[in-house]
Structures are given as C-alpha cells and as structure tokens.
Symmetry: C2
Subunit: 144 residues, 2 copies
DNA sequence: AGAATATACTTACTTAGGTAAATACTTTAG
DNA sequence: CTAAAGTATTTACCTAAGTAAGTATATTCT
C-alpha cells in the first residue's frame, strides 16, 4: 500500500496550495507567485535561472509566472551585464506589502500544521527529504 | 522556517508525478489518468462522483481526465439508472494491461522511497495525514 | 401537478507545471 | 576572426487542477 504515500503527498500539496491561494486572494496573488516573491525577499535581485534553480522548477514555468508578476507590478526586470540574463527584483510596492502578506501566509501554514507538534514537523521535513529520484533500471527493479 | 515544510511537500509531489509520468510514457498514460485506472481496478464500476470523492479532486478535473481515458480506449461509460450519472469502468484492454502497468508503477514508487525504512514510510504517512485544513479566522490567529 | 430546489455532470476560463524547440547572446576552438 | 558549441530565456503545446456558471435530470414541497 505504498501507493497511499504518494497519494497523500499529492493531496496535501494540493490542499496547502488551495489554502494559500485562498489567503492570497485579497492581494491578487497566487501561491506560485508568492513563492517567487518570497525568494526575492530573501535573496534580493536574482536572475531567472537562480530563481528556477532555487525553486526546482523548469525555466518556462518561471518565465510565465514572472511575466504575470511584472504585469501586475510586483516585480521589475532589467537586463544583466550578460544580455541573455534578466535580473529580477521586488518592486517598491511589493517591498511595502511583503510583511502583511508574510503574516497572512504564516497564519495559514500554522493552521495547516496545527495538528503536529514542533518535533513532528521537523520529523516530517526530514522524512520528506529522504524521498529522492534515483537512477532506476528495469534490471535493478527485478529483485523485489 | 515552516515555509520549508510546504515547499518540500510541494516539491516531492512534483517529483513523484514526474517520475510516474516518465514510467507511464510507454503506455501513453499520465499520472492522473493512472490514478483513475487504479481506482476503477479496486472498486470496479463507479460514478464520476464516487471517483472525484475518492481522489479528493473537483468534478471538472475528473470530467476532463475521464474524457481522455475514454477517447484512448482505457475506460467505458454508460448511463446510470439515474440519467444524470455516468457509470465508469475499465475497458477489456485496460483490464489486460493493468498488471504490467501496476508492476512498473510499483518499481518507481519503491525507488522513490528507497531511502526510507518501512517504519519511516509508515511514520511519514501518519505525519502527512495530520496536515489538515482548519476553519481559521483572523481573530483566532492573532495569538501566536 | 407544477414550481422550487438539489444533484451530476459539463463547459469556459484561470493558474501551474512539464517537454521540445526556437531565439539571442556568449564562449570556445580552429 | 569566424564557425561551432553552449547558455538564458522564450514560445508553443501538453496535462492537471481549481472556480464559476450552465445544463439536464431528480426530488421535494405546496
């Protein structure tokens, strides 16, 4: 019944995204947009590559989300010294709004894990990190 | 740093979907299609409502995925006694292919959790289940 | 029986994420 | 210095999942 594990991971992922989206509605933001803003708050200006590497998503995903954030005035972009790069940073408006948004997100996230003790939360994180993609051949898998 | 927890859940969810999709490529299937086939294998014929309730997704998501599975010949649908309902079941072709697909999926899932002991896998499942959506008011959240 | 309500599913539209291929700029090799 | 290879981003197209609203059938209430 290991199927249940991934089913559960998937469901909790969707659940938390749903809750975060609900909380962000008031700001006109979505969860994935938030994750980029959070990233820029931490690291200051970044290239798009730095963003997608940090968030472990593909480049085109960042292109799209960044475009929306730029259109709605949350971030600014400028050309890098390397003209292929586009350097991204928070707009003044975003800088001002961040504390309020962060507070709201913290509330939601606390609510989601309110059934777990601090220790359990740490354990959960540790266990999740042990899930990894491994090179896997048909031959390797035959002995089970 | 509780942010990390949801980030991790989200990432592992994407990772496992990616791996499962890769494994299903040979069958011309995608992970969410597989989850419906798996469901039908377990329960036999089901209404679409039963499927989306079991998988905890919204009805329109199932409508789309079911439509694709029907087009590609994996499932059949027939009208229920209640004419609003559509009863879904595996095609003969799907019935035949299921064991092979299940075996492949099991390989992938085993590989993903190969870094965890059986006990850790159980623990992980227990901890994940403790993540829940809770009614949450601004007032409730102020004391923290 | 007929009107109002509820239910099952669908349609239209949105964000999120993936792959493959194109574009534009940089670096490297000859 | 120019051709080839590499890199950063974008475009095009696919599945997945959500919300809101529409349609068709069932049920309920007067």
């Amino acid at each position: 019944m290991k199927k249940l594990l991934f089913h559960e991971v998937h469901q909790k992922s969707r659940l938390s995204i749903k809750e975060v989206n609900e909380a962000l509605k008031a700001f006109g933001l979505y969860s994935s947009q938030w994750s980029i803003l959070f990233c820029l708050k931490q690291f200051g200006s970044m290239t798009q590559k730095e963003i997608w590497q940090y968030l472990s998503v593909e480049a085109p995903t960042i292109t799209r989300t960044i475009a929306r954030l730029e259109d709605s005035g949350w971030i600014c972009r400028q050309e890098g010294k390397d003209k292929r790069q586009r350097i991204v940073y928070l707009s003044h408006f975003a800088e001002q709004k961040m504390p309020e948004i962060e507070y709201k997100i913290q509330q939601v996230e606390r609510a989601l894990v309110s059934g777990l003790t601090d220790t359990e939360q740490e354990q959960l994180l540790v266990l999740l990190k042990k899930i990894t993609a491994t090179k896997f051949t048909v031959e390797d898998g035959m002995n089970g």
